[in-house]
Symmetry: C2
């Protein structure tokens, strides 16, 4: 018998965004590894063991799951959102590269999920409708000046910017510094979307301008989208505004257009 | 009775990646609008009308769906992948902004989906495990020099790059020009992933280096991921290689680490 390892994306918040592929992979697993709150989202199943760990222990969690799978078990590592976006899939690959040869011949499969920026974007309209980027504001593993360089490059080149890992108790100042940095290059009126706990009962979505954007209240459950200079806000009577980035330059309302992607 | 409009992401390829939220929204709709091949993925239902159109008619399709919803119907516009990423959600917002006041008070909802870059990334490991961007190579609605500026900025600042709308019969040269541009700034050995028809029976995934990356055979169903200088390839005996971008700089194999995102 040969072990297998699946790295599974649970999507954001509730199960309405969990894919059938992820459900099947969860049902298949004999052992689940993950950050405690993510494991709590998976219903218990007889005969399936659970191995929770702190969210700062990605490397050791990935190694433990690989050791278990290499013994012949069907193991799953769970991530919120998509496991390939600032989450467990890269941690597993890092361990495989550094680990014993037996880990390279394991059947490793990544099951994608709806990542937070897509869920937050959907809630407000289409802020990611034009070229965009995703930046983790965590400077635990990369120098802050690399993050600043990326913020500058993205804002100057016209990318909409999704900010992951925007703030935590251990990293309280980075988001304010990022907003300061972006204010040098983007219009004061640039829309900023704060999406907290998206798709959960305590979801909170707010829209500000870059001038007024306030890091207070932002935590690890918050995903932020900073528009480009082209991003627009449509005010609607009695409804929250729509925020969107037009598909092209100066063409809102123009009839046609870019072919829709079919990739 | 008040009309509603849902803009629904079908995910890539087969239904294993279609979310329950998307399924429910499809079941709810009285009328479906979309590019023909996407409509073909939705099982027929008695009493549900279908309005297919060409993939270059996004603006007129969005307007037709809004007109229909404003008459009081429950209408859905379907997109492959995620509707917010180079797809119909922005087209709908553009029409709302330019359209009659009645469209601003419609109940408009976007249902996210697994976008192609997440599905392709999952197939090869974790190439999007570090900061990344998504660029549409279509110059139908933005000037080519803006695309070149974004490619330069992204490569120089260390972003992994996902290329959407990489090539079509009407845009045969753009991808080759993009590879040329990227070769000036990225190492010759930078991994490039070609993912065609991901999650469909005719799926084809290949990994090349930037030097060898060949635009031939790339079409509208192909999503391309160009690594950063940090992106790595793990060769595996008897298995396809894993491609991943480490979470931080020069730390593969290091124990711990960036807190996993919980957004």
């Amino acid at each position: 018998m040969k072990g297998r390892l699946a790295v599974i994306g649970l999507g954001p918040g509730e199960d309405a965004l969990l894919t059938p592929q992820a459900l099947a992979a969860l049902a298949d697993a004999e052992a689940l590894y993950g950050y405690g709150p993510y494991l709590d989202r998976v219903p218990a199943r007889v005969g399936q063991s659970r191995h929770g760990s702190d969210n700062r222990e990605e490397g050791t969690r990935a190694a433990a799951a690989l050791v278990h799978a290499a013994k012949g078990a069907i193991v799953a590592v769970v991530s919120g959102g998509d496991p390939g976006v600032f989450a467990m899939a890269a941690a597993v690959c890092e361990q495989i590269e550094a680990g014993p040869p037996a880990w390279r011949v394991l059947d490793v499969r990544v099951v994608p999920g709806i990542t937070a920026m897509l869920a937050v974007a959907a809630r407000v309209g289409a802020p990611l409708g034009h070229d965009f980027c995703a930046i983790s504001l965590s400077d635990n593993l990369k120098p802050w000046d690399a993050i600043e360089r990326r913020l500058d490059a993205a804002a100057s080149a016209g990318f909409v910017i999704a900010l992951y890992n925007a703030a935590s108790r251990a990293r309280p100042w980075q988001l304010g510094a990022a907003f300061e940095r972006l204010r040098r290059r983007l219009p004061a009126t640039t829309p900023v979307v704060f999406g907290r706990a998206v798709n959960r009962p305590d979801e909170r979505i707010t829209v500000a301008t870059l001038t007024d954007a306030d890091p207070a209240g932002v935590d690890m459950a918050t995903l932020i989208i900073v528009g480009s200079a082209e991003t627009r806000v449509i005010e609607r009577p009695g409804l929250p505004p729509l925020v969107y980035s037009p598909r092209g330059f100066a063409q809102a309302g123009r009839a046609d257009s870019i072919p829709e992607t079919s990739a």
